[in-house]
Amino acid sequence: MTGFRPIAAAILGLAVTTGHTAPPDLPPAVKRQINFDRDVRPIFVKHCFSCHGPKRQESDYRLDRARVAVSGGDLQQKPIRPGNGAASPLLRYVAGLDPDTRMPPKGPRLDRKQLAVLRAWIDQGARFPRSAGDSMTRTSHWSFQPLDRPTPPKIRGGGNPIDAFVGRRLAKAKLDFSPRADRRTLARRLHLAMLGLPPSPETVDAFIADLHPAAWERLVDGVLAHPHYGERWTRHWLDVVRFAESHGFETNRERTNAWYYRDWCVEALNADMPYDRFVVSQLAGDAIGESAGTGFLVAGPYDLVKSPDVSLTLAQRQDELADMVNTTGTAVLGLTLGCARCHNHKFDPIPQTDYYALTAVFAGVRHADRPLDRPTPQAQLAVLRKQLAGHRRQLAELITKLRLPVNAKHNIEKFAPTRARFVRFTIRNTNSSEPCLDELEIYTAASPGRPARNVALATNGTKPTSSGNFGPHPFHKLAHINDGKHGNSHSWISNQSGRGWVQLEFPETVVIDRIEWGRDRQQKFSDRLPTRYWIEVAEKAGEWHEVAGIADRAPFGSSNTAPADRLARSDLSREAALARGLQGQIGELTTRLNGLAKGPTAYVGRFDPPPATHRLYRGDPQAPREAIAPGGLTILAPPPMAMNEPEQARRLKLARWLVRPDNPLTPRVIVNRLWHYHFGTGLVSTPGDLGANGSLPSHPELLDWMAGRMAGTGWSLKSLHRLILTSRTWCQSSRPRADATALDAGTRLLWRFPPRRLAAEAIRDSMLSASGAIDRRMGGPGFKVFEIVMENVRHYSPKKTYTVNEWRRMVYMTKIRQEQDEVFGAFDCPDGNQVIARRSRSTTPLQALGLLNGNFVLQQSRMLARRCVTDTPGGSTGDRVARAIRLAFGRPPTPSEIDAGTRLVDRHGLAALARALLNSNEFLWLP
């Protein structure tokens, strides 16, 4: 491979410059050709393998794997320098020449003859046998090899190239295809597999009646063009990219605008965006006009809990980066890159430095919102701006008559002198939280010789009461309302959000004409300000009359130049109300305008200038070693990048390299992934790992042929779907055959279509579809199935009942990490914490309980029952039973089903039948 030549040259160079520096006490190399198995292995077996061999790997070092043996374990200091035995630390350790490290630490030491053999072996290039694997930058592992371009074999019985490869493998095992499935089954299978929804009975009947020779192809094309296709296949992709709409970890807060990424995926798949562009968009969509695509980078969990403890902060950041690297590795390359975080990959040719080169690519990516750069709708903006200008003009005219708007510092209410024993300040709205007043001053009407005085003061004998008080809190007490002291720390706060009242009672009736109040005269705080309030006075208890309030004030937030002590007037309430209305509309318009002008903001990551990246010894964030430049996998000749490569360029270069025509992994991974979803098992049964620890392909030529076709035909996913769907392989019956089951019970050779239980989403969507309740609206924010307790640490509890709002497809169910839908979560539904390339498929009694007794299913049963009545006007019970079975199974009922169903319905109602149907194996089955 490409990386090898320069390394070989470097080794030669090293040999030339340091060849003569052998210490005198190292025995000279033996002068014969060394054979590893004959000469070296016995030494390793005797002295080394007990700690550094197949069973144990102290310090992650092993001498039975060439790559690790040469490049080192945790210490990574290249213990073997091929071509130069004398300079190889390994030889120095075993010769006892290194004062710090002597190997083996216990037991007999190597004799001089053995040392001479080892030295010669290293001098001659330290060659290992093939069985010991390859060097870090070479590999013979199949998935790294260039794509094979096999010609589809000719087989009898026809079919497309897929069938040729599958058929040849079947023939080798002395097996044959099963007969084609009947049309009813095919239509149901097609809709469930491609759209995640069953076909309507009418669709099935129409297909059965379609005599056109290309009837199947037309049905396939219709399904591929259907917008539900994008939703169904986006759900698969969201598993792989660990997408969820909460942050996870202990606070688990909502991510309310993460859905833009989901919508982007749906649209991309529906438009058949070429897969290479699909990949590039997700790593660097900001560079190619697909900015929502980068939601991929930050779709994983994010720890919001921050601490002054730096060790925690560093570890959190490394976990974030690991999440991005791992997800990219599993999703696009089918490699477990995370294994190289602490040491060189134990199975695949991925040195630890490659891992850190990849983290350097993402080093500037931060979990955060970012505005989506979408074109601004200029015409719409112009209309809004004109409206806004009109409103502003109108408002400006109106408010000249009105008093000043309220402000946090100081407000004056001036009115005609009035007799008062009681004054009450009532608040009905604030700019935020519970209302706060720092002081309420009430002045007597001045007369000659008797200046106005504040009769509200407690020292005057005035007593405060209120609707309720915040706290207990030393700063905020009822007594502070009239203590003569200003500022937040001498204030009163109501115990109710946005409302409350405070009342003062004077020791005797007085004549007053002015009230002054503020939220904080010291101007440190401007929250909690009453914005809707009125002031009433009474001479006798209960005989209130209003003297001032917002009735004639300009709306809060508007600007006005009236004098502060203008007399309050009750005849301007209409104008004030108009002004408030205008002000509200101006606010809304401004928000809409700004939103439109800026475009939406989504959880698609923020890009900061990247800090330097270092290799971390054993993955420890507090043990940084050498600086590492951004890059890819050395073995696949990644693009060169500078240590200070600009942030976006890092991601873009990596992304383009991922989809470069000579990268064999990316196309293999995606065609295998599609195959996995079609047949339940991939050609490689570990779709997240095509590395040495994954499984081998069952049909290697087919995999490569499809991968080559993918990369060579514009990366169209729909084109590959079409090929698969029109293959004889896919269209086979799924019924078991004794001869084939005996040989291949797991159906890996595809002698039939492998039937299986539907996944959670398809089950839920199918129920909604059968009952007719389904809400097919696409896109936008999802629906929620949890009530949220808004504490610092969020708590989610399942909703008790569901309404029409929850009857959209499950792909739009707001995905909360850790929490699962109370019925469908039990069907192996991933929660977005881990990359899931292959869901497990288990069967548990909790699933049965959820489907039998869960409120959702009961509601849908009743709706299905009602639908059967509506669909069969004037029909008999038998007709309704038949309709229910057609809606649930897409087939006509058998006579015994009609009989048994009628008996059930007669005694217990149609909903009982519907409940049984929605629980049945046939309903949950991909046939």
Binding site: D309, R735, R757, E819, D831, R841, E922
Partner: protein, 484 residues
């Protein structure tokens, strides 16, 4: 199950994640390299994933009860007696200034509860846990446990799953994956949340991770039943029975078209198990059959509703042990009803005030459980583990009357099957800050629990995304000193 659904034709080998429903064809293709390191994988019959399976070697403990004190239970105020801390009370912690989870540290602070020698062993235990202290002779203390993080959620994850991140299989899931259950009408793994709500990491503490969902913990407690367990009130018993009978007939007809299909047969079986659970679970949560003396032993008659609630959960735990449930995770403390120490052990600011509330809720009921298991002979084959996600600092936080998180040295104790008692293993430094002699990681604790359950922690694994995943990651050594 019907004799028609003959499953024995199939061999269920290898990776159960693929196998619950579809069989990997390792034998025919002989290509799947995933079995190379020959980990021990349980052979799981998809129709009864909870059937009892044999251990790797003879187990000492057939069942495990894990009492999990959520929030960071302070060993220095309970089980880890530090005379030096008392002597040096009020002095600064030697060494350079320490920044921990919430910030700067104040002075060394002696235990807030007096310690007294207990039992024949004379083990010093504080009055915070007086009842538990009286059982000190039954306990095997590991005083030198360390964990990987000082944040609650991730640390709860470590204690329950071995990893800081969410989404890894919990220890109860691992054990039930390996061993199934002794009970055929109950889940293999039950998580009992505190009456006040769920712990910080919520369901991740008992999640299946990437193990099949069959092995997730089923959460219910004495006050809150399993979701969807009861027949809905809108459906009469007769209608329910008739519906299920009709469903069963439909399913059997359908199975005729796919003879021998294990996934379909498993679904039929799951409805039968569900029906059995509908009978057995209400019975097991009905504590009215318990004697007055038992009720009093646990403190389930307490006028403190939180104590009585936790006591009923402890009683429920014993009943689950009696019925053969494999793994029981019993939580004390929650995050559902308020943060920082109000409903759990997270005593940052006013530790004494809060522990005065939490101590009585925990102490007598947990001690009652241990004593009851002992007197009924159940402790012979049951391992009880008492743990928290981490401990707390020997200092008060600067300007506060509470202790910050301490992941570097805390106490876990075990009792019952297979462990030495009375026994104390490991120690923290003289102040109780860091584990010094021999430190034991949470992985070591997990390895030890698995060992006692008859499982080799290095070989109990599942293949996930390219890695043979284990409870103990790539770490863990059995703490052999504590084995009886």
């Amino acid at each position: 199950m019907s004799p028609r659904t003959s499953l024995d034709r199939r061999r269920f080998l290898g990776d159960s994640a693929t196998l619950l429903g579809s069989t990997a064809l390792a034998t025919l293709l002989d290509q799947d390299g995933v079995l190379a390191d020959a980990p021990i994988r349980p052979a799981i019959n998809p129709s009864s994933p909870h059937a009892s399976r044999s251990a790797h070697f003879r187990p000492r403990a057939r069942q495990v009860v894990m009492i999990f004190c959520s929030g960071g239970f302070s060993p220095l105020d309970s089980f880890d007696y530090k005379p030096e801390l008392i002597r040096r009370h009020g002095e600064p912690l030697p060494g350079k200034k320490l920044i921990t989870f919430q910030g700067e540290q104040g002075r060394l602070t002696r235990p807030l509860y007096p310690f007294r020698p207990r039992g024949e062993s004379g083990k010093m235990v504080s009055t915070l846990v007086d009842h538990l202290g009286e059982l000190a002779d039954e306990m095997c203390f590991v005083h030198s446990v360390t964990t990987k993080t000082n944040t609650h959620g991730p640390a709860e994850n470590v204690m329950s799953t071995g990893f800081t991140l969410d989404g890894f299989p919990s220890i109860g899931a691992w054990v039930s994956y390996a061993l199934g259950s002794e009970a055929d009408d109950l889940p293999a793994f039950v998580a009992i949340p505190d009456p006040r709500g769920k712990p910080q990491s919520s369901v991740n503490n008992w999640g299946p991770g990437f193990l099949p969902a069959a092995f997730q913990g089923t959460d219910f407690n004495a006050a809150r039943p399993i979701r969807n367990l009861a027949r809905p009130t809108s459906i009469t018993p007769a209608a329910d029975t008739a519906t299920r009978r009709f469903l069963d007939a439909l399913n059997r007809k359908h199975l005729d078209r796919f003879p021998g299909d294990s996934e379909l047969a498993a679904r039929i079986a799951s409805y039968q198990l569900a029906a059995r659970m509908q009978l057995s679970v209400p019975e097991i949560t009905d504590l009215s059959t318990e004697s007055r003396s038992t009720i009093r032993l646990y403190g389930a008659d307490s006028r403190n509703p939180l104590k009585a609630g936790f006591a009923r959960n402890c009683l429920l735990a014993r009943r689950l042990v009696e019925r053969g449930v494999r793994f029981i995770q019993l939580f004390n403390g929650s995050y559902q009803t308020g943060g920082e120490g109000t409903s759990n052990w997270d005593g940052h600011k006013k530790l004494k005030v809060q522990y005065d509330v939490h101590g009585p809720i925990l102490d007598q009921p947990a001690a009652g459980l241990l004593a009851d298991l002992k007197q009924r002979g159940l402790l012979e084959e049951t391992l009880v583990v008492f743990c928290s996600e981490f401990g707390r600092m020997p200092t008060f936080q600067k300007g506060a009357s509470g202790r910050d998180h301490n992941p570097d040295g805390f106490t876990v104790w075990m009792a019952g099957a297979g462990v030495k008692a009375p026994f104390s293993y490991g120690a923290t430094d003289p102040f109780g800050h860091r584990a010094v002699e021999p430190p034991a990681s949470v992985h070591d604790v997990h390895a030890t629990i698995l060992h006692l359950a008859g499982l080799e922690h290095r070989r109990l694994s599942i293949y996930h995304n390219g890695i043979q995943r284990r409870l103990t990651d790539v770490h863990g050594d059995v703490i052999t000193d504590v084995l009886a």
